[in-house]
Amino acid sequence: MQVDPSGEAPVVVCNLTKTFLDQSRGTIRAVDGISFQCRESEIFGLLGANGAGKTTTLRMMSTIITPTSGTAKMLGHDIVKDPSGVRRSMGFYSASTALYPRLTARETIEFFARINQYPEEKVQARVNSLVERFGITEYAGVRVEKLSTGMKQKVSIARTIAHNPRIVVFDEPTIGLDVLNALEVQKAIHDLRSDGRTVIFSTHIMSEAEKLCDRIAIIHRGRILACDTLAGLREATGLHYLEDIFLLYVRGPA
């Protein structure tokens, strides 16, 4: 995929590569030269099976790990040269990012707003608005350890956007959730796009990608095999269902 590294797009990923040295299997290319761009007010989906390289890509983009080669820019901040700038520009949410059990919901949002350098004088107002927006007013003063899974999801999304980032990354956010909680998360992602944010969203659930994503990149063995809107993918393959399209790219024609 051709990308313009100096382009205006909020997210520009250019030849991103990550290799791991596995003690028993040798060098593994978890991500192999991935490139894509995301636009404003867009939900960009990374669709792939387990081990396809989705999480590694998103972890590089959120500066948890460093790429072996290639780079990415988030609102112009380079993930290698300016990781702090990247982190302040984005919110990262995944199944493995947990909340501090001994903080209250309000304290959690407050802490993440401050640590991401949200203007101090606006912190309280921001916290209040998020508490109201996510409907957590009733239990804002309750410790996270005492909240139900659904409540925790809401607090977690609220803390992800506590500093009002323009880019939000969701790494398999509905994994392990029941249908109702998964729907809540999907609604929150949809709302974030409506706010004008860029949402990068990884999943292996076809229906979720079909329902939420404006554009979908099919990723397999560390490479992007296709990247287009759902309509574009249908047109390119002549298939209707995303599952069939996915299998066609991953396994080849039957």
Binding site: S24, I64, T66, A98, L103
Partner: protein
């Protein structure tokens, strides 16, 4: 450094610590309650024991050729004032040994003829002492032996009193004989001896306190800091909050520094709290100090101790952060904690050793320097220059450790636990590679605990059977079963070329001679006490075992079980972890550590390194198994034949080294094809 972020993170960490019930209870509440509880409880138990002992009537018997005379002696002295609370009743069992077994007797007194006494002296390896000085055992006199079962607390105390009684009897009877033979005065009246101590009470107390001051503070610092450290990194990794934090706008340096500051602060605060508790308990007389105990600490001395211990606390906090960072879970951090605890305890005991001064190379050895300098401060012999040097060395150590711990949080293998997750999910080989050392740690602990605490396993045969079959064989098979390991891979079953077997057999005698040469060489630099060598000999070749049994129990069985455990399972588990040379050293040292008496560790570790090298070079445990069995058999046969390898000259040793080198080269040359 972003100071605002650091301040925010530090406040956040402290808030987490203070809200952790486990931390607050285990660090502040428990010590406050436990210490007086333990002291008062111990005192109560001791009082009850004393009462019980005073009320006990000890049942005993007297046997042997001069039983009547011994009986008269006991009767004559048992009413002496010092034995007022020693109540005795003589029994007359037909078989005193059986009566001991049946617990109808606490002990019996066996009187012996001169011949029996001489024989007993020959059989007993313990050198008799007078005070701390060894004395020559008197021969040609009758003997008296008190026989008891050491695993009965009450009987032990009774025996101590009976021995004291008989000693008093012997002394008085000797004096009576001397008087009757015309000795002019009381023997103890010949010379008046006194000792005059010119040190002040404060200096003596300071010297006593100084020896253990650092170790006590280090125990508190490590115990308090570790509770926070385990939670602050390993616990956060386990809960997933570390990943949340590192995706925030805070830098890794700020995160690591805030965590370090939290551990440091908690360590210092809790240690100060412990000192205050101790002072309060002394004031309340819960802790009773000796009458002449007096510590005279000036403000300057307190400041000097402060200068010494604050950087020490920082170094410990940073080291704890590192230990916790390497663990993936809270439980794993707890496993890492014990070796760390022992590792800090040993150098902090330096002050116990006499003659160490801070104005020496000691000043540059972290922790040891604080231990020695603190003792000097407490004994009123502080050396301000060396206190400065010590504080500087400790500060630099702390700074280096903080820097390293901050770097750790930028390492992907430390902060991301995908591989760990995958290993847990998949189980099998991957999980085994992560767990193998924990298994061996548990095996070591079980071996050590059982052998030292279960008297039924004290015999050589039972002990060997327990270790080899119960621990090494069963432990290895359990790991192979639990992690679905391929037995062929573990053992390395494949064809080994004949020159390897020949080289192994050639290497065995050569290795023995080389080992003797090596230890002779070491002995010229660090002389080994002969007592130690004698003890080693006794352990390696127990007396009274037939030769065929020695070959089976000490050569064939250990070779089979230990090769499966160490060169099979352990080596298989760490095969991807280190460079081959480091792997050989690592497995060899662990093999040595399992031979838990200190003086056996070095020689067995050396043998372990050779055996591991053979396994690495051939890819199989079988040549090593042959080497191990042949090596042990060779040593047993040499000992049985009375042949000592110490007698050779250095030319022979050099030739043996040549043969050994050639053998190892052959093993490498023909074994590497695997």
């Amino acid at each position: 450094m972003n100071w605002a972020a650091l301040k925010l993170l530090f406040k956040h960490e402290m808030r987490m610590v203070l809200r952790s019930r486990r931390t607050v209870v285990t660090s502040l509440v428990l010590p406050a309650v436990l210490m007086p509880g333990l002291i008062l409880g111990t005192r109560y138990v001791q009082r009850q024991q004393a009462i019980q002992l005073d009320q006990t009537t000890f049942l005993y018997a007297i046997t042997g050729p001069w039983a009547d005379e011994a009986r008269r002696l006991i009767e004559r002295y048992k009413d002496a004032p010092e034995f007022r609370n020693f109540h005795l009743r003589e029994e007359h069992p037909a078989h005193p040994e059986q009566a001991l077994e049946d617990r109808t007797l606490h002990f019996y007194v066996r009187t012996m003829t001169v011949e029996e006494a001489n024989q007993a002296a020959d059989d007993d390896d313990d050198t008799p002492t007078l005070g701390s000085q060894p004395v020559e055992r008197v021969t040609g006199v009758r003997g008296l032996q008190v026989v008891f079962r050491g695993n009965q607390q009450i009987a032990r105390t009774g025996v101590e009193r009976m021995v004291d009684l008989m000693r008093a009897a012997r002394r008085n009877e000797s004096y009576t004989i001397m008087f009757s033979a015309g000795f002019p005065s009381h023997p103890e009246g010949i010379l008046a001896m006194t000792a005059s101590n010119v040190a002040t009470d404060s200096q003596i107390s300071g010297s006593n306190l100084g020896r253990f001051f650092t170790v006590v503070l280090v125990v508190w610092l490590v115990a308090a800091g570790s509770i926070v450290a385990m939670d602050i990194i390993a616990g956060e990794k386990e809960r997933g909050t570390l990943e949340t934090l590192i995706t925030s706008g805070a830098g890794r340096i700020e995160i690591a520094t805030a965590k370090f500051l939290a551990i440091w602060t908690v360590g210092l605060v809790i240690t100060i709290a412990q000192v205050l508790y101790a002072l309060i308990y002394i004031r309340l007389n819960v802790i009773q100090l000796p009458d002449n105990f007096e510590i005279d600490l000036s403000a300057q001395s307190i400041a000097q101790l402060f200068v010494l211990f604050v950087p020490l606390a920082a170094a410990i906090a940073a080291a704890l952060l590192i230990v916790s960072a390497y663990a993936k879970t809270y439980k794993e951090a707890q496993l890492h904690f014990f070796p760390f605890f022992v590792g800090t305890l040993v150098p902090s005991l330096a002050a116990v050793l006499p003659g160490l001064k801070s104005r020496s190379i000691i000043a540059f050895i972290p922790l040891v320097n604080v231990s020695v300098a603190a003792r000097e401060v407490l004994t009123g012999r502080a050396d301000p220059l060396m206190i400065g040097v010590t504080a500087l060395v400790m500060s630099l150590t702390a700074a280096a450790l903080i820097r390293y711990s901050a770097k750790l949080l930028t390492r992907e293998d430390i902060i991301v636990w995908t591989q760990h997750e995958q290993a847990i999910l998949e189980g099998g080989e991957k999980l085994f590679q992560r767990r193998v050392l924990q298994w061996f740690a548990v095996m070591w602990a079980v071996t050590f605990a059982v052998v030292t605490n279960v008297p039924q396993l004290q015999g050589a045969r039972v002990q060997i059977l327990f270790n080899e079959i119960g621990i090494f064989l069963v432990g290895s098979l359990l790991m192979i079963w639990r992690y679905r390991l391929n037995l062929r891979d573990v053992i390395g079953i494949h064809r080994v070329r004949w020159p390897v077997w020949a080289a192994v057999l050639m290497a065995v005698p050569a290795a023995q001679v080389v080992a003797v040469a090596f230890f002779r060489l070491v002995n010229t630099v660090i002389p080994t006490p002969t007592e130690l060598l004698r003890e080693l000999g006794k352990q390696v070749a127990p007396t009274g075992m037939p030769l065929w049994q020695m070959i089976f129990f000490m050569a064939i069985l250990p070779a089979a079980c230990e090769e499966l455990a160490f060169r099979g399972v352990l080596l298989h588990g760490v095969r991807n972890r280190f460079h081959p040379v480091v792997r050989c050293l690592f497995v060899g040292v662990i093999f040595g550590v399992f031979h838990y008496t200190l003086f056996r560790i070095a020689p067995t570790a050396l043998l372990g390194v050779i055996l591991t090298a053979i396994a690495v070079m051939t890819g199989s445990i079988l040549p090593g198994l042959l080497f191990h069995a042949a090596n042990n058999s060779f040593a047993i046969l040499m000992d049985a034949a009375g042949i000592s390898l110490n007698r050779f000259d250095w030319g022979t040793y050099l030739a043996a080294f040549g043969v050994f080198f050639l053998s190892m080269h052959t093993i490498w040359r023909y074994g590497k094809d695997h």
